[in-house]
């Protein structure tokens, strides 16, 4: 797709974009200096996605953009025009089997394995876990640990997080 060069737009002048967020198509007017993270949290009341460092150093803001995990804090919303965004609020629907309103298996596994304490890094950990499984590169515990190292957990739930992911991956394999 070739896009026409747009005339320059000032940072605080909103421009129109379309995002599909958790399955819902939204026409938005967003200033260029607004990150995807701030758009979600401050404009759309999707506060499930967390701001931990705002610099790509903690992973709390991890969301899925077209199924791929990225740090929403380092993403300008206007640059994702047309993208499909999945946040923690949309994970249940993503994992929803036959519209049962159930949690995504990874959400259930996090609860079962006590893979969080304060819960602040959790949305990022969950989106990152789903991204990891979509990628399909991590199989062993060592590989999971390495691939989840972009998500800090100051409460130290790491071993339980790996247990939860392994559990879901093994379930998928069955």
């Amino acid at each position: 797709m070739r896009l026409e060069t747009q005339p320059p737009v000032s940072a605080d002048t909103p421009i129109g974009i379309t995002l599909t967020i958790n399955g819902q198509r939204r026409e938005l007017r967003v200033a260029p200096w607004t990150t995807l993270l701030d758009l979600l949290r401050e404009r759309l009341d999707l506060t499930g996605t967390k701001k931990g460092c705002d610099h790509g150093q903690c992973g709390a803001c991890t969301v899925l953009v077209n199924g791929t995990r990225v740090n929403s804090c380092l993403t300008l919303a206007v640059m994702k025009d047309g993208a499909e965004i999945t946040t923690v609020e949309g994970l249940a629907a993503l994992g929803d089997r036959a519209g049962s309103n159930a949690l995504h298996p990874i959400q259930e596994a996090f609860i079962e394995h006590d893979a969080f304490q304060c819960g602040y890094c959790t949305p990022g950990q969950l989106c990152s876990s789903v991204g990891l499984m979509n990628e399909g590169h991590a199989h062993t515990r060592d590989e999971i640990r390495e691939a989840m190292s972009g998500n800090l957990c100051r409460c130290g739930a790491y071993t339980n997080i790996v247990d939860a992911i392994e559990d879901v991956m093994q379930g998928d394999a069955r």
Partner: protein, 755 residues
């Protein structure tokens, strides 16, 4: 029907159906779906955004602040500085929060004086976040700089015994025997200096406060705090408000570790701006600004141990000097632990502080114990080598059966020996070759180390409410916070068991000043304090319902004494006569009451505390693998055996210990806030360069809870929030020595220290 009964002791008639069993967090669904809201996430229709401008110097005066350019940015509502700030209270006392150390608390935007780097010097308030952030970058601040002093080593000689002691912090005990003389004549001597880097808590949630101005002019404040009552008191006192003009909430807290014990400056600034602008304001600190208030201050320690050739300790000296700010005398317990842990006839323990041009240090997970126990437990390992003793045998030989720092009072319970026994067995300690550098796998040296952990077991005055409604639902709660510890879950378990209800019939509410008051969540005292208060409130409700039941026509409980009542499965039955029973719902419906409610107080058991000293203990076993050539350390295995009384919920309890161990690994190997003393500034103020453990750093951690019966409180709990971290760094240091033969006495053990 509301009744508040007098505090009383009682035996629980409830059975442990839920207490003591592993239960998933009841706040789990809210947290995994993103519905759990944290302080900086509450909305208001008129919300404005505050962004803090931070001082670039550590010491001096502001000579000018130019804010016109910032104010001219469309959308900017106000730039507040010391020059134009609204008036607040002026007496120090009004700024002293419930856990403030002695001194004169920091006041943001108070005057032109700069007392630490990163100090807030202006708040820019705008219609949206991006505008506030941009405008903040346009505020120009000029300073008259003075040379800051932030190097503790440079002011070690100026250290002093704090004239006013911090409440709740035991000063070092008076010395006994003559430690120095005994050291001079000891056949075996070990002496060393120990230090740990400055550390910052860095909870994943940055500090944030949302002040919502309600229609009636009152304020609803969502504050990142480990106990809303503390913020409430602070805001009321500082802003001269009536208590009912402010409600503070914090249903979820994205990690505290002590950083949220005291109200921080963003709460002050948000309230200041909300009052000034008469609209709702949120102030969220940036991650960098998380280096602009409390931290775990480094301490310079020396330990001198003397022993007989058989390892019997004859003398123990432990001295510590720690930094504080220029305006408050922060204090923590660093050296006392050495005197509690070991039986020794000549002991001297000292603790002094020295003023630095930094923010006031504060409590960080197991404050003082992390620091002091690292030193004593590393020194004990050195003594083990010096005497040729097994490190566990040495500790058992000098095992304290009573607390020498408290006139020899016995411990309420101390199953530390079981920790060593069970931990050693699980770890496989018997297979250890004590010789340093004797174990290797390929290019890696393998080291096994052990250390003891200790933390005080405390209980604080706390209250709680319990309300039973005729639909069979029970609501309990108080103002304390669940900082990730699992408080919601354990209180639910306790409440459900006390009244014999299923857990899903219980709603636990926390973090709201409209609920009965409880202290900040800290010190590992919440389970004991709030748990007992909830249990008593539920017990009171049970007694009221029982009385209603007995008064019913043809009551199956007629003429039964309360101490024979059994609450189970939503019913009250008679002990030994289960046929006689009635459901709680039936009783309330028949009695025609719309609710049965009670508020109860719980506090420390004075009689018990007069007779006993209360501590939690642990034995930590660590395996490290160190690349012989490159110095890379991996902590491949940890066994942490914990003696902490009754475990209410093994699942969340285990997580508490895991978290402590992980933070301990960080403190041993990675965490270091680096001060450039020339400018008095922490330079690696971000999560890219201040290293906390990542997933790849953490291998197997095995947690053992040894059986321990304790009677300090009716629940038999001793607290778990801190014990997991204490001693972990020493166990790692000791394992690194065993692996490499290198004794590192200054943490963190980064690669450069092992080359």
């Amino acid at each position: 029907m509301t009744q508040t009964s007098n505090p009383q002791t009682f035996s629980s008639t409830g059975r442990d159906t839920f207490v003591g069993t592993p239960r998933s967090r009841i706040d789990g669904p809210a947290k995994v779906t993103g519905l759990a809201k944290y302080a900086g996430e509450f909305a208001a229709p008129d919300l404005a955004y505050g962004y803090v401008v931070s001082s670039s110097i550590a010491k001096g005066r502001i000579t000018a602040i130019e804010s016109a350019e910032a104010e001219a940015v469309p959308g900017v509502l106000k730039v507040i500085t010391h020059a134009n700030r609204p008036r607040t209270a002026w007496r120090d006392k009004n700024f002293q929060d419930a856990v403030a150390p002695p001194g004169s608390p920091f006041r943001a935007l108070y005057d032109d004086l700069i007392v630490f780097s990163g100090q807030p010097v202006a708040l820019v308030v705008a219609e949206d976040f991006e505008t506030a952030r941009y405008a903040a970058s346009l505020v120009r601040v000029s300073y008259a700089m003075q040379e800051p002093v932030t190097d503790l080593k440079a002011v070690r000689g100026d250290a002093y015994d704090p004239p006013t002691k911090r409440e709740g912090i035991k000063p070092p005990p008076a010395p006994w025997g003559d430690a120095d003389q005994a050291f001079g004549s000891a056949p075996i001597r070990v002496q060393g200096g120990y230090s740990m880097a400055n550390e910052h808590h860095n909870p994943m949630e940055p500090h944030a406060t949302t002040v919502v101005v309600e229609q009636d002019g009152t304020y609803t404040v969502y504050d990142k705090i480990q106990g809303v009552s503390n913020s409430h008191q602070y805001l009321v006192n500082v802003f001269g408000l009536k208590p009912d003009q402010v409600r503070v909430l914090n249903p979820y807290l994205g990690g505290g570790f002590g950083s949220g014990l005291r109200p921080q400056y963003q709460a002050f600034l948000a309230m200041l701006a909300a009052q000034e602008l008469k609209r709702s304001v949120r102030v969220t600190l940036t991650r960098d600004q998380m280096w602009s208030f409390t931290y775990r201050g480094e301490a310079l320690q020396t330990v001198a141990l003397g022993a007989e050739p058989d390892g019997t300790l004859t003398t123990l000296r432990h001295d510590a000097v720690q930094g504080t700010s220029t305006f408050e005398d922060y204090q923590e317990v660093i050296v006392n632990w050495s005197g509690v842990l070991y039986r020794c006839e000549n002991v001297a323990l000292t603790y002094r502080i020295a003023k630095l041009d930094t923010a006031t240090p504060g409590d960080m997970r197991a404050p003082g114990a992390v620091t002091g126990v690292f030193a004593i437990e590393t020194a004990m390992d050195e003594l083990a080598y010096a005497t040729g003793q097994d490190p566990i045998a040495l500790r058992l030989k000098n095992y304290a059966e009573s607390d020498a720092t408290a006139q020899g009072k016995p411990f309420g319970s101390k199953e530390l020996k079981s920790c060593f026994r069970q931990g050693a067995e699980r770890f496989g300690w018997a297979k250890r070759n004590p010789e340093p550098r004797s174990m290797r796998e390929g290019r890696e040296l393998v080291g096994w180390g052990v250390a003891t952990g200790i933390w005080e077991s405390m209980m604080m005055q706390s209250s709680a409410i319990a309300t039973l409604t005729p639909d069979g639902r029970l609501t309990v709660g108080n103002s304390t916070g669940d900082i990730g510890t699992g408080t919601y879950t354990i209180l639910t378990q306790i409440a459900a068991d006390t009244l014999g209800l299923p857990m899903d019939a219980v709603t636990t509410k926390l973090g709201d000043t409209r609920l009965p008051e409880a202290p900040v969540a800290g010190g590992s005292w919440t389970a004991a304090s709030s748990g007992t208060a909830v249990m008593k409130a539920c017990r009171n409700v049970g007694e009221q319902v029982f009385k209603l039941a007995r008064g019913l026509e043809n009551s199956p409980l007629a003429n039964v004494d309360f101490d024979r009542a059994v609450f189970a499965d939503g019913r009250i039955s008679v002990a030994g006569d289960p046929g006689r029973s009635v459901s709680l719902v039936e009783v309330m419906q028949a009695a025609g009451v719309d609710k049965v409610e009670a508020v109860e107080q719980a506090g420390p058991d004075k009689d018990f505390n007069q007779k006993y000293e209360a501590y939690t203990h642990s034995a930590i076993f660590v395996e490290v693998k160190v690349d012989e050539e490159l110095g890379q350390v991996r902590v491949t295995r940890v066994v942490s055996a914990i003696a902490a009384g009754k475990v209410l919920n093994p699942k969340t309890a285990r997580s508490q210990i895991l978290g402590g161990v992980v933070m301990g690994i960080g403190s041993a190997l990675e965490e270091e806030s680096m001060l450039d003393h020339r400018i008095g500034r922490f330079m690696n103020h971000n999560l890219g360069e201040y290293h906390v453990p990542v997933n790849a750093d953490i291998y197997d951690i095995d947690v053992i809870f040894v059986a321990e019966e304790d009677k300090a409180n009716p629940l038999g709990v001793k607290g778990l929030g801190e014990i997991g971290i204490v001693g972990t760094a020493a166990a790692i240091t000791n394992a690194v020595f065993h692996a490499t033969g290198k004794r590192v006495r200054d943490l963190p053990i980064t690669i450069d220290k092992l080359l």
